[in-house]
């Protein structure tokens, strides 16, 4: 099976490739083997033309205009494809919503004394959030404010008779008007998910355009869910500030008890990171033979959460998650939920690694389940670390092979941190340097990279090609989620990357801010804003700039890209980015091409409604060019200077 992999098609990350070579030797099946085994994938699925919503099916529509052109119920290609998008958005919204609710419950329990291990770490953020959502802060205790913020957040989930507070209070007035005009104002996060499930079930909504607008409404509920998650995570664990750490498999330390935190929510990973420095636990680790004590490393977005807050190094991300185990030196992989491939259990069986599941909704056969409850979080975290120390004793030295590759990575650029950094250049008007440089063309535009690594793309290849093309054309790069993972592993979150890849204008700006911040050089080429739920941080910066300029988001030279997307969450985020007014690129073709109507609406007609639109382009250089053109169009609209880009590919 392992012979099927063409390494160049698997990854461009040398650490991943080294581990993959190791997996091959050990005859361990990986995601790339399973992908090969799935080929060819079903053309009906690839084009979105199959439906399993009722028991009269499954139905398929011929993509070539032959019979059949309708499902048994009469649903045509447009309906099938639009229903798929709607349900994908709903699933993404449910995921971010579940994550956000979990945090809100914990904040509430913490504030009323039922979660003693959690406290409000960032009072300033709590007050800022409270004031934004209309909660009184004067002369009130922190816990009282926290309790009200948590309750207000929890109210967002069921259907209200008013718009979602976390959406309405965090976007521009222009966006609100546009959402009202097009009937896409969300009034409850869970209720929007339920509405999508209702309208896409047998015999309800058969109007593709109406379905797509429903998907937009649900995606805006997703935006609110994401924003709640980020806000409350910052309140409980602190708002990220710039720090320096490392990324890639080389952060796994052969002399330490290595514990990977994998999944999404910081509730457990932050607790594990906090107590990993506990003297008693480290003594136990040393007594077990781990001279370097306990080493926590991150995988995927919970890895990003602890990376941006505590500088916990990132071992790997997304498609290469199995590779952390293949190093033979990972003693435990602790998971919560989302993006955890069930295959990690199978890979862990080939090693001493303990896979530990922690959430009642996410169990994996072959793992140890240690259920996590907020009421005794520290105790749970301690038990998990003790399991890892036990596992360490069972390491097989002959199987240890850690690629020594790792990169330095600057991280922790929350919206607040970016404003603070800008304030070092202009204390009274922090946004002014950013806006002045955009106007002058030193910053040609801004691109937010988000999303995953998709097995269909050689890992990171699209990210790397696109960032080089955009940065040399002076586009400021922000990143979240596994896009951050890619850039961190590939060495783009460094000052060296700025010096090597940034165009002159961008380099000058990043250098001026970096030197004002005392870095003795530029800011890194990519500003790591956090996990995938933290895309709202980028939205906050864009909204602040738009409000300052007095224009709406759909006029700003800001674009978004998910060059290697995988998940339904990415569909939800992409859809709200479009509704927010951003040209939004996808580097993997989603299963929508079966409907010309849906493709036309999402890539073109929707621009007339919200200003944003999808760009589907698998070629990364071409994608970068299209995004640069989109930025130019926006700059022209604002009366700013425009560069004519060379047509030949450099």
């Amino acid at each position: 099976m392992n012979n099927l992999i063409d390494k160049a098609q698997a990854s461009t990350d040398n650490a991943t490739l080294a581990a993959l070579e190791q997996a091959k030797k050990a005859n361990i099946e990986t995601v790339w083997d399973r992908y090969q085994a799935q080929l060819p994938q079903c053309g009906f699925g690839e084009t979105g033309l199959c439906c399993r919503h009722c028991m009269q099916g499954p139905c398929r529509i011929s993509p070539f205009g032959e019979s059949p052109q309708k499902g048994v119920c009469g649903a045509n290609a447009d309906v099938m494809v639009a229903r798929w998008i709607s349900r994908a958005v709903a699933a993404g919204t449910a995921s971010h919503g579940g994550h956000a609710k979990h945090l809100a419950h914990t904040l509430l329990k913490s504030a009323i004394g039922e979660a003693p291990d959690y406290s409000i770490k960032d009072e300033a953020k709590l007050k800022a959030v409270a004031q934004r959502v209309g909660i009184e802060t004067d002369n009130r205790s922190t816990n009282d404010i926290g309790k009200d913020v948590a309750r207000k957040a929890l109210e967002e989930f069921s259907e209200k008779d008013s718009p979602l507070t976390w959406a309405a209070t965090t976007v521009t007035g222009g966006r609100v008007d546009s959402f009202v005009k097009h009937g896409v104002v969300p009034t409850g996060i869970d209720s929007e998910v339920a509405e999508i499930m209702h309208r896409t079930t047998y015999g309800v909504d058969a109007d593709a355009i109406n379905l797509l607008l429903g998907a937009v409404k649900c995606a805006l509920a997703d935006y609110a869910g994401c924003h709640i998650a980020t806000d409350i995570a910052d309140v409980l664990f602190g708002t990220p500030k710039p720090l320096i750490t490392q990324a890639n498999l080389g952060v796994i330390n052969p002399d330490a008890v290595n514990i990977a935190v994998h999944g999404h929510n910081p509730l457990l990973s932050d607790m594990i990171s906090q107590i990993a420095s506990d003297a008693d636990l480290n003594e136990k680790a040393k007594a077990a033979g781990a001279s370097a004590g306990i080493n926590i490393v991150g995988v995927c977005c919970t890895g990003n959460e602890v990376m941006v807050r505590h500088g916990i190094p990132l071992a790997t991300s997304s498609v290469s998650q199995e590779m952390a185990i293949v190093t033979g030196a990972l003693d435990a992989m602790v998971v919560d939920y989302q993006c955890i491939m069930p295959s990690v259990a199978t890979v862990a069986e080939c090693y001493h690694t303990k896979l530990i599941t922690t959430m009642p909704i996410a169990k994996i056969p072959g793992s140890v389940h240690i259920e996590f409850h907020e009421s005794n979080a520290k105790q749970t975290a301690q038990t998990i670390i003790e399991h890892a120390i036990d596992a360490f004793k069972k390491r097989d030295p002959s199987k240890i092979n850690i690629p020594t590759i790792k990169s330095k990575a600057f991280a922790g650029f929350s919206a607040e941190a970016i404003i603070e950094a800008l304030a070092l250049v202009n204390k009274d008007d922090p946004l002014k340097p950013l806006i002045d440089n955009i106007v002058a063309g030193n910053i040609y535009g801004v691109c937010l990279f988000a999303g995953c690594n998709n097995v269909k793309v050689p890992q990171d290849a699209n990210y790397v090609s696109m960032i080089k093309e955009l940065a040399r054309n002076n586009v400021l790069i922000l990143s979240t989620g596994c896009a951050s993972g890619a850039f961190a592993r590939q060495g783009f979150m460094t000052q060296e990357a700025t010096n090597e890849y940034a165009g002159d204008g961008l380099k000058a700006v990043l250098t001026a801010i970096g030197e004002a911040a005392g870095l003795g050089g530029p800011l890194p080429l990519v500003l790591h804003m956090g996990s995938c739920v933290d895309n709202s941080r980028a939205a906050d910066v864009a909204v602040a700039v738009a409000n300052k300029l007095g224009v709406d988001l759909d006029k700003l030279p800001v674009v978004a890209s998910a060059p290697e997307p995988v998940t339904e969450k990415a569909v939800a985020i992409g859809t709200w980015a479009v509704a927010a007014g951003l040209p939004t690129h996808l580097g993997v073709i989603p299963p929508v091409l079966g409907s010309k109507t849906v493709v036309e609406v999402l890539t073109s007609a929707i621009k007339g409604m919200f200003g944003g639109y999808f760009i589907v382009e698998p070629d990364p250089i071409q994608a970068a060019r299209v995004l640069l053109d989109a930025i130019s169009e926006r700059r022209k609209g604002l009366g700013l200077s425009v560069v004519e880009f060379a047509t030949e590919v450099v």
């Binding site: 060819p40 053309g43 993509p63």
Partner: protein, 165 residues
């Protein structure tokens, strides 16, 4: 010459062969480009069922091909590999071939008004339909090898029966 054989037991009627066939006969040769083409590319393989068995029905490139015998315009011919193919410009759209084909796998191109049939993907080592089949229902084999395997299976099942007695 290798022939396409069908094991109906393994067919799940996923129709991947139909899609791959149409893509192979498109201009762009990829699914995502093919579905944008006008006119849409045509498939030459048909997944059918009698209510119980599901299987792809495909041109057998018969040794004594009725379509070839019936073609009055000199459109159909047998190529050097033994495949029954078309000289498209000679087709007059009489559809006699469609009438005489015992499998019903010659169809009409409604935009070009000519007959359309399987060309056994003569430029490919493995025909697109065989390559696309996820279950191995469609197989490309030498007739002799196919027979050998069937004969072995017959022995095995006889041995199983004997053991059971």
């Amino acid at each position: 010459m290798k022939q396409i054989f069908v094991n109906a037991d393994k067919c799940t009627a996923c129709k991947s062969c139909e899609i791959a066939c149409a893509v192979q006969h498109s201009k762009g040769k990829t699914l995502f480009s093919a579905i944008m083409e006008e006119p849409a590319p045509l498939k030459r393989i048909f997944v059918e069922t009698d209510g119980e068995t599901k299987m792809p029905v495909i041109c057998r490139h018969c040794e004594d091909a009725p379509c070839l015998n019936a073609c009055i315009s000199g459109c159909l011919y047998r190529d050097e590999k033994g495949f029954v193919r078309r000289k498209k410009e000679r087709c007059i759209g009489c559809y006699t071939c469609i009438m005489v084909c015992p499998f019903g796998v010659i169809t009409m191109d409604k935009t070009k008004h000519i007959a359309v049939k399987c060309d056994r993907c003569h430029k490919l080592e493995i025909p697109a339909c065989v390559n696309a089949c996820p279950t191995g229902s469609l197989m490309l084999k030498e007739l002799d090898d196919f027979l050998k395997e069937k004969q072995k299976q017959a022995v095995e099942s006889a041995a199983v029966k004997a053991a059971a007695l």
